[in-house]
């Protein structure tokens, strides 16, 4: 399947989309923008610049997250956060991850102390004018809280509950996957695993497509099994300008070189026109990179030193 087909088939206007803290599929991000999907709600432990990029044309207009990572340098984004074009409720890195975990585990809610004693518990915080009240409206018209304090039925002490998150779709880039959709990832994983397990549809771009036997001989790296994955797309450099452990480093000069930092409406527009709307797909995006900045610059991002097992763990049972 191509990224275009995957987004056509599995991403709809108004969906809640998980795009994580780490290992971001810019290939799928760009395709979502190209197709003009509207009104997405972005959820993740931390959202990253790909969410800023998706907010400019209204692909994303709602956010539930713990941290706006590298997104606030964008004046347009700041503006939209203030005037309500982007609506939001804040959580934390852990509580969003736990909410995704609860969604993945089929639990209605999960406990965490994180907001005890803070201003997050004030009613005016929970339901501020740009908050996601409409998303929390119950059938009877009342509004569910974004989190709630109860007394534990076991010891009577205060317990703070957070509702489960079940995104409609997750996008992620991974090191490798097989044709059946088994997805392998290594390095710091942040909220990735539960972002994938909690989502109804999982779209994955993979740096490499490998035979099942590669997956099966290191089954501990699999974070989502094939039956959980809706589409796997072979997309080298699919995380660019982000990095991928074992393959390439983040392209730190990219945001300034191209305007992808979205610091102004103008630079945002230019970036989108040239690098997103102006390319057919990720392969053309990478070709254009090579043309514009030279293949050498791209190659300079490639990882050159590797860490392999000193004494490989071996499975064995007979």
């Amino acid at each position: 399947m191509t990224a275009r087909e995957a987004v056509e088939r599995f991403v709809s206007d108004g969906d809640t989309i998980y795009s994580g803290f780490n290992i971001i599929s810019f290939a799928l991000t760009n395709e979502i923008i190209r197709q003009g999907v509207k009104g997405l709600k972005a959820v993740a432990g931390s959202v990253t610049p790909n969410v800023t990029i998706m907010s400019i044309d209204g692909n994303v207009d709602r956010i539930e997250t713990g941290y706006l990572s590298g997104t606030l340098r964008s004046k347009p984004f700041q503006e939209m956060m203030r005037d309500g074009r982007v609506k939001w409720n804040d959580y934390t890195n852990m509580t969003i991850t736990l909410r995704l975990m609860a969604g993945g585990l089929g639990m209605p809610f999960i406990c965490a102390n994180s907001f005890l004693g803070t201003d997050y518990l004030l009613p005016e915080t929970m339901n501020h004018s740009r908050s996601l009240q409409e998303d929390r409206r119950r059938e009877d018209g009342s509004v569910a809280p974004p989190y709630a304090v109860i007394n534990s039925p076991f010891d009577g002490r205060k317990a703070l509950l957070y509702p489960a998150l079940k995104p409609d779709v997750a996008i992620v880039h991974c090191q490798r996957a097989d044709e059946e959709g088994n997805v392998q990832v290594w390095g710091p994983q942040a909220d990735t695993k539960w972002g994938l397990w909690s989502s109804k549809n999982v779209l994955v771009t993979a740096e490499e497509i490998v035979p099942r036997s590669v997956i099966s001989t290191e089954p501990h790296f699999t974070i989502a099994p094939g039956f959980k994955v809706s589409a796997v797309i072979h997309e080298p450099w699919g995380a660019h300008p982000g990095g991928l452990n074992g393959y390439y480093r983040a392209d730190r000069s990219w945001y300034e070189l191209t305007g992808a930092g979205m610091t102004t409406w103008e630079s945002a527009r230019e970036y989108l026109d040239e690098w997103v709307y102006g390319t057919e797909d990720h392969s053309e995006y990478i070709s254009r990179y090579k043309k514009r900045f030279g293949e050498e610059l791209l190659n300079s991002l490639r990882v050159k030193e590797f860490m392999g097992p000193e004494q490989p763990a071996r499975y064995g049972w007979r």
Partner: protein, 274 residues
């Protein structure tokens, strides 16, 4: 595919039960497989007619794909051979939490000591709680699975002590007391789907995924050489019989051979066990 069948007397009721259970397992389904006969039945299904079923057990290995050189079914749900060819090696949070409770297990194969009219299972005790005639091992993952999986296949010998109007102890929710029982308890409406025994296979009267119908067990298929009356004599309530009551084919020779190979000299089906 050969259609050569084993003759009566060439197989045991326990073997027929395993084969009938295996026949309920569908190709392409993601399946959580429980201790005992389910491990053997699911392995048989995987080798025989469901090569693309996702064979998963609760200790963590998802999508066990054994190599053919060692054709023996796993002995337990944490058997180390389950990692063989697996797609994912995780833990119980992954398997029972994310896979089962998260709603990704399309079916389950479970054993139990008792089943009742509404498909509730018992693996806890025989008799009463304060004075059990026998304490059983407990629910393991059965209660976790029964709460979440939409197509539960149970398997056990057809015996009056096992088939009860009401289970001595309801370890695992079936349809509880009948229509609407699951919804009232806070569960999704669809519960158990099949029960394969030593004499027959039951379905459930749930024409609409558990929302309507009597939610009772219904006799669906009878095994070769077994009569309707024999089944009715064992089941202590007024058993519903499917209007399309059928007779299940006897084991195919290849099923039986494969089963015996997988059981590796009686690992699961030791004489007298079932």
């Amino acid at each position: 595919m050969t259609t050569e069948h084993a003759a009566p007397g060439e197989y045991t009721p326990a073997e027929m039960m395993i084969i009938a259970t295996a026949r309920q397992v569908r190709d392409g389904e993601s399946t959580i497989v429980g201790m005992g006969p389910p491990l053997l039945s699911a392995a048989l299904a995987k080798y025989h007619h469901a090569p693309n079923m996702w064979y998963c057990t609760e200790s963590g290995p998802l999508d066990y794909v054994p190599t053919s050189r060692d054709l023996s079914a796993p002995l337990g749900i944490a058997d180390h051979s389950l990692t063989e060819g697996a797609a994912l090696s995780g833990d119980m949070v992954d398997a029972l939490g994310a896979f089962v409770n998260g709603g990704w297990a399309q079916s389950a194969v479970l054993q139990a000591a008792q089943i009742d009219r509404f498909g509730n299972l018992n693996t806890m005790l025989a008799g009463t709680f304060e004075d059990p005639t026998r304490r059983l091992p407990g629910t393991g993952g059965n209660a976790d699975i029964g709460a979440s999986v939409q197509r539960v296949i149970s398997t056990m010998p057809l015996e009056t002590r096992r088939f009860r109007e009401r289970a001595d102890f309801r370890t695992t929710a079936g349809y509880i007391d009948g229509p609407g029982g699951r919804a009232e308890a806070g569960l999704a409406p669809q519960g158990p789907n099949r029960c394969a025994t030593t004499m027959c296979v039951f379905g459930f009267d749930t024409p609409d995924g558990g929302l309507t119908g009597s939610c009772e067990m219904v006799l669906d298929q009878i095994f070769p050489g077994v009569s309707l009356e024999e089944v009715q004599a064992v089941v202590p309530w007024d058993l519903k019989v499917s209007p399309d009551l059928g007779y299940m084919d006897p084991p195919r020779t290849e099923e039986l051979e494969l089963l015996r190979h997988l059981d590796d000299g009686g690992n699961h089906l030791r004489p007298g066990r079932y």
